[in-house]
Point group: C2
Chain length 567, copies 2
């Protein structure tokens, strides 16, 4: 599939290079000066001796989210210690503990739910043979250009080169044929957590597009289309749950058009997100019904229980959710101070920082105060709130505030002698900056409430932004201005692939003012592509009457289709 | 490193081929006859209509563990549905849900404990560059012959081929250099769960030696040798705990000799297991102190906190445990009926099977009885016992018994009208075959107790076998006869690599009667290699006096060293 992003490729590459160089330069300078660029917890610098103010500037994000969204994003994931660029091989990223905590939280949530559905875990080899791959024609065509081929072992050439899996349909389905002998073996539902490799020629971006990424891939087989279809939606709803309930990210549920569906599949359902900063749509996760295409190619049949002697091909699904979800969350919630994490997936939900412990204080008073801080810390931990306390010597409270803001901790708790005198703890919300105090007697209940409020408010804010920028349009001339105003659009469409291609061309490079690419450079504006046909269809489309909105299309509209510039 | 197993390679290959062909043949026959070879839960065959007896024979293991250990093992892992051979590419195996449950139990147990130690999770790319790899000379020499090289992406040659990680030292340590700037960044402790690829030329065996395997790899950096050394042992004790507490497998803790240590490391500690059926030792898991070798090559230094201005190289460890543990467990506990699982890692701990429900019973009585079965099932589940109930129609109880025995379920519970009349449930232990009854009123407590007893008895039995076959020897002439009698030996040794090599030669192919290879074929007997220097040293070695036991060595003995034929 062609991608509108190709247009801005060279500009994008330049931008990434520039961002990387800037980051490398800052880091080198910092290493020599022993100053923390990453805001490392135990980094040597940033002490008062060096002048707190100067350090504060260095650890922060150097560009604003509004001015240069792409560089902002790259700095956030790097400086919040989520990602490290793998300089040895381009297009690969290292997932650091801050990332793995989020991924493991998602994994646990999803695993529990699919286990309850009867999905079992498996682990297939990472390599696939040319022969298996070639069984399904559209499938191999979809993935062939991005396959990484192992051709040598040690210093010997392999007789038959093997490819690293880009997805495991062709790895697994020969065994579905072997294991499924009777309708009693159905449904067969297997899932695996692994990494896959797609050697993208396109621009890579941390989390969103990488040559290797972590994901789960579920592969199931059912007796009927109906049973398969029910599961497709059940899984899609779990994907929506990960976005909405864990990551506080709203999504639109829908079906991909023929042009955008999975290579070799029957139909694809999707949850589609939206990035307010550049008005782009982004595919969140997909749950595919493969129909009987693969079961025919891989010979997966059972005897029809209702018609003895007759063999039928099974109905198959595959569904996957990757670490991309984390990138979407960062893009939506982050701000100019850095990462903003929804409390449910934050490893540290609240950070407790002693303040007002001045040099003038007596050693005794200081000890007494820090003892009280310790008590508060243990009270919170005992209540099951994921809390840390920052007792680092030699750092100003202001430096610590910035450091934890950069890392996105949802709630900051401050405790100084003045708070102690009033039996309160002061707090600051990461998402809104709102400040207040909590009586110590109510600390654990109020903190838990605040965290839930933050989670909900973050979702509501993102949902409001999405709702306001999902525009139903019935006049073609309004389309490009709507895109330029950072909207995605919902239009009546014929759903014919050729028409989609033409729509992409018609909406590309037409605005006078060039648009912001995800890489933060001015470039010719990108054409829009179809994101999904939302399940929740607006009113107003009359079948057999309403026409496809494309000015060059003479067909009738089939459904409302969501289009947008996209990742 | 050379391996004594090479001797028997061609015989072994033939044996594997024969076993595979036999399995394939049986399976093909079964598919055509619609009979379950794998004892599949919902397989079509095995019904009374086909004659229970005939089916019972087919689903079972066709060779005895004593007669042909290697074929027995391959049948068990295949028929108990733990493993499927990946026929597309040789040397690779599919891990099925029965395996993944065990691996996930181990993973959870270990993960909780390393998290408590402060180890954080990470995920590095699966590829490494030639340049990184070459930094540590012995390391690259150790792994180069087994590296899988990606040389092409799509149809384009890569400018710089990349290798799939065989282990991640060379992938990770460039970033340790970047992230560790101060002694305050120490200890840095990261772990990842992934798969690695070592393109073995040797015979592969499910779990024990595969070209790709799942494992965890921990990589840590410390300020001092002492701190690194403490962690090495702490992790080794966790590895021993996985074997002893979860898998009911006894191990000997010790240190590898220079000849057998990790390529590029400083010293290697190990837990060593023992397979009674062929008297072979098997390496269980290793925890390495890498010393400062890698930190020098990768430039990982900090300023010495006790000597300002002076830079010191950090001390590093790496430690890994793989799915091999599962193979060791199968080999030790399995019997001629199939798998025998220790209760703590069994997905199904007890299987409840209604019996005595005959055709003569009235529909009403039958319903009443099955209702009671259901009640028992829920009582057990509610008590947290992992239980399933086998209500499959059309299978004889005898067929079901065999099926669950094949799959290793630790405890079978039978409930028939006679049991109901006496308010008891009958049981049969998988490990000993012991039968008895449990009053229904005491069901949950007694079942829980029985499961713990089974766990303990399985361990004790294996421990007794290991203890009886770990022979201290001080007379060289006793060595080969001891090996032939399926022992591993503990001898005074100089620990010099050249002497170890010679000992291997001296003990190879010398017995009149050829020994049993792991592949179940008669072949020239394998020489012994050093397994470890046990931490628990026997009495009787006088330093400066006791001589190395090798008849061709004139050196003094350093320590008691455990040698054996081995995997």
């Amino acid at each position: 599939m062609a991608d509108a992003q190709d247009q801005s490729k060279s500009a994008a590459k330049k931008a990434e290079k520039a961002a990387k160089m800037a980051a490398a330069k800052a880091e080198k300078a910092a290493k020599h000066a022993a100053l923390p660029v990453h805001g490392g917890k135990k980094a040597d610098g940033g002490k008062k001796a060096d002048g707190g103010k100067k350090t504060d500037e260095i650890i922060g994000i150097t560009v604003s989210k509004t001015d240069n969204f792409s560089q902002w994003y790259q700095e956030v994931v790097l400086k919040a210690e989520m990602i490290e660029y793998y300089n040895e091989i381009s297009g690969f990223f290292i997932m650091r503990p801050a990332t793995m905590h989020i991924w493991n939280t998602i994994r646990k949530w999803f695993q529990e739910r699919i286990e309850a559905m009867g999905v079992e875990e498996t682990s297939f080899p990472m390599f696939l043979s040319q022969k298996s791959l070639e069984k399904e024609k559209s499938h191999v065509e979809g993935f062939a250009p991005e396959l990484a081929w192992v051709t040598k072992a040690g210093d010997k050439d392999l007789e038959f080169p093997v490819a690293v899996r880009p997805t495991s349909e062709a790895v697994m389905y020969p065994y579905y044929s072997k294991w499924i002998r009777s309708h009693r073996d159905l449904p067969l539902r297997l899932n695996q957590w692994n990494s896959v490799v797609r050697w993208e020629a396109k621009q890579t971006t941390p989390f969103l597009r990488a040559r290797e990424f972590l994901w789960q891939e579920g592969h199931t087989a059912h007796l009927t289309e109906k049973l398969a279809g029910e599961e497709v939606l059940e899984i899609l709803e779990l994907y929506a749950g990960i976005y909405e309930q864990l990551l506080a990210v709203p999504v639109v549920r829908g079906r991909k058009t023929e042009a955008e569906k999975f290579a070799g599949g029957y139909y694809t359902t999707t949850v589609e997100g939206y990035i307010p900063s550049n008005g782009r749509g982004i595919q969140g996760a997909t749950s595919h019904c493969l129909g009987q295409n693969f079961s025919k190619m891989f010979d997966i049949t059972v005897e029809d229980p209702n018609d003895k002697g007759k063999h039928v091909n099974v109905w198959q699904n595959s569904w996957g959710l990757s670490t991309r979800v984390i990138g979407v969350m960062v893009m939506i919630h982050g701000d100019d101070k850095g990462l903003v994490l929804p409390p449910r997936i934050a490893k540290i939900q609240s950070i407790l920082i002693p303040v007002g412990v001045t040099a003038k204080m007596s050693a005794e008073d200081k000890e007494k105060h820090l003892k009280k801080v310790d008590e508060l810390f243990f009270t919170l931990k005992k209540a099951g709130i994921r809390t840390d306390v920052d007792l680092r010597d030699g750092y100003t409270p202001a430096w610590k505030f910035n450091d934890w803001e950069l890392k996105g901790v949802p709630l900051r708790l401050e405790f100084g002698p003045k708070d102690a005198a009033k039996d309160v703890v002061s707090y600051a919300r990461r998402d809104t900056g709102e400040k207040g105090t909590i009586p110590i007697a109510e600390l654990t209940t109020k903190v838990a409430e605040l965290l839930e409020t933050i989670q909900q408010d973050m979702y509501n804010k993102a949902e409001a932004a999405y709702a306001a920028h999902r525009i139903r349009i019935t006049n073609w001339d309004d389309v490009v201005p709507a895109l330029d105003a950072k909207n995605v659009v919902i239009i009546p469409h014929c759903l014919v692939p050729a028409c989609e291609d033409r729509v992409k061309e018609l909406t590309a490079g037409r605005s006078d003012e060039s648009a912001d690419t995800p890489e933060g450079q001015k470039a010719p504006s990108m054409g829009m592509k179809s994101l999904c046909v939302p399940f929740d269809q607006p009113e107003g489309l009359v079948k057999g009457e309403t026409r496809c909105l494309s000015p060059e299309c003479s067909r009738l509209a089939e459904q409302w289709c969501m289009f947008g510039r996209s990742y």
